[in-house]
């Protein structure tokens, strides 16, 4: 049944016109200011996030993706020491920081190198090495081009940690705006059916109904992507805290590496980690002194084979001399939160259809942000057109939105 709205003005002024107006007016104030402050940044994040959802697809399409040459299936892999040697020859003036292996590219290692293990890694160089032949297949550049521009605008506004934390704060404001928006949804919907968009009454009502409808339908997705985005901005801090916890635990356990001993082959360290965690595969090997390891141990990160265990990396610390796996405390909850937040923010854990849905929900969010801006601007312009004292009264009567 079509519901009848008594008066268009009534619907938009409902928060102020009803009893309990002061509480609602406060929510209106919270919604207005939390949204206004973060909206332009959120529009930027939505627009830059759109190509980032399809990062792999775009990389492939641009022919920038490095592929391992065809070889018979099951061709044996070289010890990782040979992979590191190849990368060192490729960049003789750099030291290795990490070896990465992608789940879907088992025949390739990506070696990340820099001048020192403890840099901020922004100038790091990558080489892709064939796991079977030790041949350097190429040098992916993550620091140039359109996708890099999108990435930096999305992640840190070219301002490093300060930029990340700033965007994280904007994300928190988005969460506040979403929650206050849900609270305000009720008074606007007292006389409307769910999903009803009033066409042909006035442009303002159409924008208002679209804002409310699109907002309430996608609010769960927006909360999850916004909230996990905020957690991702704390990634460096979380990894450092985890590392500090591990190092502290090792010190109390007296498990510092024996200094001056002869380094064991890297492959023996990796094998020890794999033996300690049966059924898992190597995702990352972090050299001592990097963000992911400790100053005196290698860290080998292992993953399982279900979508969730593939993301929930298991960290093992290995002594570089004895190749012994060191008993470590289980992963702290905040590290688990970060690891689960990553797929839930990126939308990369359910194939291309999930990415397409992610992109569509992103576009809906753009419309919600834009319609909110339009509604504020129309009201603001209207308020500016009448004498100041009247405008003030009108704004108060409308709940300040």
């Amino acid at each position: 049944m079509k519901s009848v709205t008594p008066d268009p003005a009534m619907a938009s002024c409902a928060p102020a016109a009803r009893s309990g107006a002061t509480s609602l007016q406060r929510w209106v104030w919270v919604h207005k200011w939390s949204s206004l402050v973060c909206t332009l940044f959120m529009l930027l994040l939505c627009l830059t996030g759109l190509p980032l959802v399809f990062y792999h697809e775009i990389d492939h399409a641009l022919g920038k993706h490095i592929e391992a040459p065809e070889m018979p299936a099951g061709t044996a892999h070289l010890p990782v020491d040979r992979i590191v040697d190849a990368a060192r020859r490729h960049h003789p003036d750099l030291v290795p920081l990490y070896l990465f292996k992608e789940e879907d590219e088992p025949d390739m290692w990506v070696v990340k190198m820099d001048t020192r293990p403890d840099t901020d890694e922004t100038q790091a160089k990558f080489s892709v090495v064939d796991a079977r032949t030790g041949e350097v297949l190429g040098e992916p550049r993550f620091d140039e081009g359109f996708m890099h521009l999108m990435y930096r605008l999305h992640v840190d506004l070219f301002a490093g940690l300060a930029g990340r934390l700033f965007l994280g704060f904007m994300g928190l404001l988005l969460v506040v705006a979403l929650v206050s928006g849900v609270v305000l949804y009720a008074p606007f919907m007292r006389r409307l059916d769910f999903g009803e968009v009033r066409h042909g009454r006035s442009t303002k009502l159409w924008w208002l109904d679209m804002h409310n409808m699109l907002g309430i339908v996608t609010v769960t997705w927006a909360l999850v992507v916004g909230g996990t985005g905020v957690i991702n901005t704390w990634a460096d801090l979380i990894l450092k805290a985890w590392q500090a916890e591990q190092v502290a635990a090792l010190k109390t356990a007296g498990a510092g590496a024996a200094p001056g001993g002869r380094a064991a082959p890297l492959q023996s360290l990796v094998d020890a980690a794999l033996a300690a965690e049966p059924g898992m595969a190597v995702a990352t090997v972090a050299f001592p002194g990097t963000l992911l390891s400790t100053p005196s141990h290698y860290a080998v990160f292992l993953h399982g084979d279900t979508p969730l265990t593939a993301k929930l990396l298991k960290a093992t610390l290995v002594d570089p001399v004895s190749a012994a796996v060191i008993e470590t405390k289980p992963r702290p909850w905040y590290a688990t939160a970060l690891l689960v937040s990553q797929p839930l923010h990126f939308g990369d854990y359910g194939g291309l259809p999930l990415k397409i849905l992610w992109a569509l929900l992103d576009l809906v969010t753009v419309v919600v942000l834009w319609s909110g801006l339009v509604l504020w601007w129309r009201k603001h312009r209207h308020a500016a057109a009448v004498p100041a004292s009247t405008a003030q009264a009108a704004t108060t009567a409308r709940g300040g939105a």
């Binding site: 849900v182 007292r190 006389r191 996608t218 609010v219 979508p307 839930l344 359910g350």
Partner: protein
């Protein structure tokens, strides 16, 4: 004229959509294949409703 709706009536459908969306977000995380397909179907619900309500003229 219909009376003002209660909060329960207003949030009935949004709550259901929230539950379906959350299930869709989680299902692709716990498994592949069938779980991925379930995730697509569930997340298509909010996307589809946005399209339907935007275009529907009642």
């Amino acid at each position: 004229m219909k009376g003002a709706k209660s909060n329960a009536a207003i949030f009935r459908w949004p709550l259901l959509i929230a539950v379906l969306t959350a299930a869709g977000l989680l299902s692709a995380l716990v498994g592949d294949d069938v779980w991925d397909a379930l995730s697509w179907a569930l997340l298509a619900v909010p996307v589809g409703l946005c399209g339907y309500f935007s275009l529907a003229r009642r």
